[in-house]
Symmetry: C2
Subunit: 659 residues, 2 copies
């Protein structure tokens, strides 16, 4: 039975939840396929995440390996293939709790960087799991800055081998997933030396563990890097190489080759690598960032209509905490953001599909724009969603702090997305570099990519809004965002030029502007997100109430952004203090409107109880019963602690009767 406080929320939905779900999935047929995959995975006990919050790092790792092995069987059984429509739902259905994800990166890097011969040799072996691959790039002392990697690969002309070494401790490979305990092979990135000359970083296939007994190969020291904030299921590892020899054919050589006599040949375009990096950043946004936020919103919002605390009106029963304005202000902007980012993700996917088609036609013109997009949006979306998940956790008070709520693990996992695949600050600075360049180009009257033509159209002016309702017009707020983004880009470009003209060296000037450059890059991404949300709403079907509620969310997302970043809109007077009061009024009004549909809006995300794995967020809202039942399963309740016999009993020894 559904908790009546939750059930009542569903009866007054202003729209069709099922239709919105289909909209989010991209059509009812996709919804059907997704549900079938989820159903098949969740009814299989091998994939259960039931005891996850009670497991040690070792137990989590073992479960992930077991699931990865079982998944091969399951896919075969179900007739799912890597190219089939079901595939993209598998990872989501498993909540990412599975091993060998780096095995896929191993394969991808060979496919992209390897010659046809190398692909023909290694891909079948990997596909059949005759080896387990990993990808060893990051070192203890080196992350983002690839040129700084210290691992060496020296070509030995006499034996036609590369000799790989870890010259010092900071050169030790550190972090690669699947490498701590599972991998037999890995792609090692190392500085290539031929006849004493360094040719930069290149990839080498290296066997690291015996296929007989899994013991380390000669010259290999490898292990697990130990406990992390999350990702207990992944054996992130370390690797030291001491005179490890691999044959010449093990350098991935699609783009460059060392010939038997030591001649180094570079061929073709390396730009495609660049593109691979950008696609990884885009592909993680949905599964690793937006879905976790959607889950956190589902948990926190369902809990907030079940939890009652204090009285809103004297004499009445205690109020649902979602009826408090402060709780709405915590949870509804993240909910709006989840939708905003879902739509911007669709936009990015389309953009990248188009880019991919162009690249296949050897047209690389879109690359700088795609790189800027993937960097900026990866940073902006991961940052925003991480903060939003933390807000959801804290909005559930003490119960949110319990692992059983599911929120702590969502938080500690999404947090990593701000760091991996490019640290966010560095990424935003790459976007900023693109924006500054485009701004200069546009100012000089030259053409720029379509997404940044707005930088050329600098209009001074003021926001024309006259009352709070004007701020519910997408034209009004989109224009405000655009104005603000242009101002931040142009003023930072001006500062940069001023510094350089006053004699500051270019790199120093750049460093002195980076705080503002980061701000400008965020402003650009924020503007594009608002604009895309507004345009998406425009195109939605007007039936079933979906367009109406999405319009409210779009307004909320936009106005929350102005309210929370008021300074950048007020700075040059584009929005006046009086107008900011209108923004605030409309923003607070919207909270009360959207609050009515809050539960249907999270129901539309269509998470099963098993995928939420939360004592607070289940569909039936039986929060307290579930917390109690789950707590009893904790190992802390399964044994009389030795602490009693050893410490408490002797301490209490002189009081052996009832007081």
């Amino acid at each position: 039975t559904v908790n009546p406080d939750l059930a009542s929320e569903r009866q007054t939905a202003s729209f069709s939840v099922e239709k919105l779900t289909a909209q989010l999935d991209g059509g009812a047929e996709h919804t059907r396929i997704r549900r079938a995959v989820v159903q098949a995975i969740e009814c299989d006990p091998v994939f259960s995440r039931e005891n996850q919050y009670f497991q040690s790092q070792n137990e989590r790792y073992e479960a992930a390996v077991r699931k990865a092995v079982h998944l091969q069987k399951k896919m075969h059984e179900m007739g799912w293939t890597e190219n089939g429509p079901e595939f993209k739902y598998i990872y989501r259905a498993l909540s990412g709790d599975v091993a060998f994800l780096l095995h896929r990166i191993f394969m991808r890097s060979i496919s992209v960087l390897g010659s046809d011969k190398q692909i023909a040799k290694w891909i079948p072996l990997a596909t059949q799991y005759r080896l387990i691959g990993s990808y060893a790039q990051t070192e203890l002392g080196h992350g983002t800055y690839l040129q700084g990697l210290e691992t060496t690969a020296v070509f030995d002309i006499t034996t036609q081998e590369f000799i790989l070494n870890t010259p010092k401790i900071s050169a030790m490979k550190w972090w690669p997933g699947d490498m701590g305990r599972s991998a037999t092979h890995t792609v090692v990135f190392a500085q290539l030396y031929i006849h004493g000359k360094c040719y930069g970083v290149h990839p080498f296939i290296v066997q690291i563990r015996s296929l007989q007994d899994h013991s380390p190969c000669p010259g290999i020291t490898a292990g697990d890097i130990g406990p992390k904030m999350n990702f207990e299921h992944v054996d992130n590892g370390y690797l030291m190489l001491q005179n490890v020899r691999v044959p010449r054919e093990n350098m991935l050589n699609k783009f460059c080759e060392v010939q038997p006599d030591g001649t180094y040949i570079r061929r073709g375009s390396q730009k495609i690598n660049y593109f691979t990096m950008t696609t990884v950043r885009i592909s993680l946004i949905s599964d690793e960032v937006i879905i976790p936020l959607m889950k956190a919103c589902t948990i926190a919002i369902r809990y907030s209509v079940v939890r009652r605390q204090s009285k809103l009106k004297p004499g009445e029963q205690e109020a649902k905490i979602l009826d408090y304005q402060t709780q709405q202000e915590k949870l509804l902007p993240p909910l709006a953001a989840a939708y905003a980012f879902h739509f911007i993700n669709n936009y990015l996917q389309e953009l990248f599909d188009k880019g991919y088609r162009e690249i296949q036609r050897k047209n690389f013109d879109m690359l700088p724009e795609l790189h800027a997009f993937s960097s900026g949006f990866k940073a902006m979306v991961t940052q925003y969603c991480t903060s939003a998940v933390e807000i959801c956790l804290r909005a559930c008070g003490g119960h949110g702090y319990s692992l059983l709520s599911g929120l702590p693990s969502l938080y500690t996992k999404i947090l990593a997305s701000c760091i991996y695949e490019g640290e966010n600050t560095i990424l935003l600075l790459q976007t900023a570099r693109f924006l500054i360049k485009c701004f200069m180009t546009a100012s000089a009257g030259q053409p720029v990519p379509p997404s940044v033509t707005y930088l050329a159209a600098v209009k001074p002016g003021k926001c024309p809004a006259k009352n709070k309702l004007d701020f519910l017009s997408p034209d009004i707020y989109t224009e405000a965002y655009q104005h603000m983004a242009v101002r931040l880009v142009s003023s930072t470009a001006a500062k940069l030029q001023d510094l350089i003209q006053s004699g500051v060296k270019k790199h120093d000037a750049w460093n002195q502007c980076t705080v503002q450059l980061v701000q400008a890059a965020k402003a650009h991404c924020h503007y594009i997100t608002v604009k895309n949300f507004a345009e998406t709403v425009e195109k939605l079907e007007t039936k079933a109430g979906i367009q109406k509620i999405m319009k409210h969310l779009c307004d909320l997302f936009a106005l929350h952004g102005i309210f929370s970043n008021a300074g950048v809109f007020l700075h040059d007077g584009y929005i006046s203090g009086a107008q900011m009061d209108m923004v605030t009024a409309s923003y607070l009004d919207l909270l009360a409107v959207i609050r009515k549909d809050a539960v249907p809006l999270v129901d539309a995300f269509d998470f099963t109880d098993k995928s939420l794995n939360s004592a607070l967020g289940s569909y039936d809202g039986q929060v307290y019963q579930r917390l109690y039942e789950w707590a009893q399963k904790s190992p802390t309740n399964k044994q009389m602690s030795p602490a009693y016999e050893w410490y408490l009993k002797p301490l209490l020894h002189n009081t052996l009767s009832k007081i």
Copy 2:
């Protein structure tokens, strides 16, 4: 040997680190005592935290109990007493990793709420550890709103007992520390019923476990609530009561009593309880919030001068990451905040000591102000420090995400401080209520407490700063904060009155203003913190360079606050856009200035390596060596995983030779 990149940072300190440490401790004699306590604790292997990051919840609990028991012996051995000067350093030296903290709350609640007779009976038993106490207030369904508690205590006149019951699942006690596994007794808060009439919430001493064998007493169901985001060392527990009878004397009856015939008598003032709650909030600020932030700053800043990445100038060696403006912008404002909060904590301590003296003289006039202070500052400082610790963690990239950095556990622990002892939003609303009331009183020309007289002095005006150097004047920025706080309080008061005058009911009007009320309360606390920092700097000795560097930190704290909350300063034009550019310029200039002293400024916090327990933050900066050594101690490296035999080997079975 100290890493040369770290050593060089210490050679150029602009001030005496040792003198600053003494300043922070409140005199060199305190430094000496603190170091002696830390030394005694850290050289005792029972108190070791060495393997903490590898331990399970059960192991953490056992260690905490072992430490608590051993601590009694140690204190005796060392001649430390609860009233001695060493006592306050013990908890800090243990990093709070010890059991029976609720035992102290149990004792405190009896001392405060119990009659002399009750004190005479229970306090000696507790002091001698003939029982272990806990404090059972929070329920599954009830936290902040005490009146909503559902546990009942019905007076049975025939047996002269109270019958305690948990009438439904939401009434189950949930969260009390030390209760899951350790406590034999607890103070249960329950609704008192006599002859069917409810007299509200009262405290009852209840035995929950046998002193013979620690089994639950009749009618008691108790256990551990399971895994949390941190606090694995504490057995937060649940408790259900079924017709549990306690004698009439077990109701704590200093302020109210049930006589044998069922007559209920209330006596004396209960205001002192109110004061107890406020003192707990103040007392946690230092140990649970500021010290963890100081540790996080120490770790992140030391790491940031050891870690080199990418090039700042072409052709040079890779740069220390602290030389990047963006990294300075992440870490130096938290560092300044750590100092700001240290000083505001001193101020609050003095204020509360004064308040306590007044209360002992039966003068309760200061109570509302003290309550508002303790609520607002608890919320503001916990919120700020939690965000700051998260920033420190993320600023260390991947290594910050490893538990071995020490940062994840600092974060997951400090996060709880936003929730416990009053959820922050609720607390800020209590401060706001006080501010609104004082503002109304002051507007009517009536006297208000000294800390809020500024609310009466509303001056319109504009900020007089003419160039960026003017913003390094404490008068200029303190005035700006004051103006902003007054504006937020007064405009919210006006909105509230407008709503009520337009016919909205008082409680609805309040709810519609809560987002802005929270903002106003934060602004007030922020203003007082800046003002106090500026006044403290004024009084510091000018020798040894301490005043100078503290002045820089004060400026940075203040300007960072204006830069990050630009909207509220720009809103009414008090600060213009052009002036905000000056703020930004001065703020960014200060980053480069303070960066030079960053390492000495964290060295002054004087944490030992053992208390930091961090592979990144040690005094010698041997980061990579330590990460590698610690990782090898992980249980994930101590055993061949069964996953190999069970899953990997069968998977790889058809490839039993080197590829």
